[in-house]
Amino acid sequence: MILTAHKISEEVLSQKITIEPYSSSQLNPNSYNYRLGDSLIELLDEPIDPHNAPEVVYHKIPEEGFLLHPQRLYLAHTLEKLGSRDYVMSLIGRSSMGRLGLWLQVNADLGHAGTEHHWTLELCVVQPLWIYPRMIVGQVSFWEMARASKEADQSKRMFYQGKYAEDIRAEPSHIHVEFAKYESEQR
């Protein structure tokens, strides 16, 4: 079940949900509007190979805006630190940005319980589009979980401790680490 705005603000106060900085003016009936941070990453490899660490270039999004081009992927991040150990997050765009043909993530809208980070956004556009720092670009919703009976014992609960758990800015993919691990296990 999805949380209402009232419940989101209650859980921010009780610290079961982290949204930093937080402003109640960014609440929607069932989500919270997040802002765009001011840094951006572009991937230079052609083709991209998940076996290797991607070669990237960093950009700062200037106040006067940054122009995104189709057929390019840009990694950005949420200005806010977002997370919860008690709810699952779903991060999506806003219909106002969707109507301009902007994707905010590439199929990866799920925020596992235990995540608490500046969320990396995967931006791509249908037509060229300007973006600006700190603009409201998307929304995050919070969902209740159905737990196993053994999880009544706190120590049996499972929290996200993955590769991106403590991100404070946009972070390129670390999938090559998985390939390296798999290959060393095969040897």
Binding site: M1, V106, N107, A108, H112, A148, M158, I175
Partner: protein, 171 residues
């Protein structure tokens, strides 16, 4: 409500969720990481028509990888057979793959309750990318429905390998 990793594990053990083959090391706090099968379908025609049976060509994804181009749609599949008569599976990308600009599904992330099979992935890349067979390409979440179940009996039931669109049957 979304199931936790430990609850997915408990439901696989009671067979209320089917994941075959199953390896608990693929469990996440709220999902199960699935693998990419080793075959793809590519439509032969550039212009697609939902009124027609659009012919496809099969490609094997070799161990050394296959390069995808942004201008094409590729139909791949999930190596595991997945489904449930009790929960609703929803396909999610993995952020490690999304950060490389690879879409694995196009607007249809929902698996009907009661449907079991090797689900087709609709792959599209923003920039050219190499894919490898058996790589952990996405994750499956499971959601608790509310109301009396009305189980799936559709055209993609028991799918094996990638399946092209059969939308012409609906027209």
């Amino acid at each position: 409500m979304i199931l936790t990793g430990p609850e997915i594990d408990a439901q696989v053990k009671t067979k209320r969720i089917i994941i075959e083959p199953y390896d608990p090391s693929n469990l996440n706090p709220n999902s199960y990481n699935f693998a990419l099968g080793d075959k793809l379908l590519v439509y032969q025609n550039k212009v697609l028509d939902p009124h027609q049976d659009n012919p496809t060509e099969e490609r094997i994804i070799p161990e050394e990888g296959l390069k995808l181009k942004p201008s094409r749609l590729y139909l791949a599949y999930i190596e595991e057979r997945i489904g449930s008569a009790h929960y609703v599976p929803i396909i999610k990308g993995r952020s490690s793959i999304g950060r490389l600009g690879l879409f694995i599904t196009i607007t249809a992330d929902l698996v009907d309750q009661g449907a079991v099979g090797q689900w087709t992935l609709m792959m599209h890349c923003v920039q050219p990318i190499i894919i490898y067979p058996h790589m952990r390409i996405g994750q499956m979440t499971f959601w608790k429905p509310t109301g009396e179940p009305d189980l799936y009996h559709g055209k993609y039931q028991h799918a094996e390998g990638p399946r092209p669109s059969e939308s012409f049957q609906d027209l």
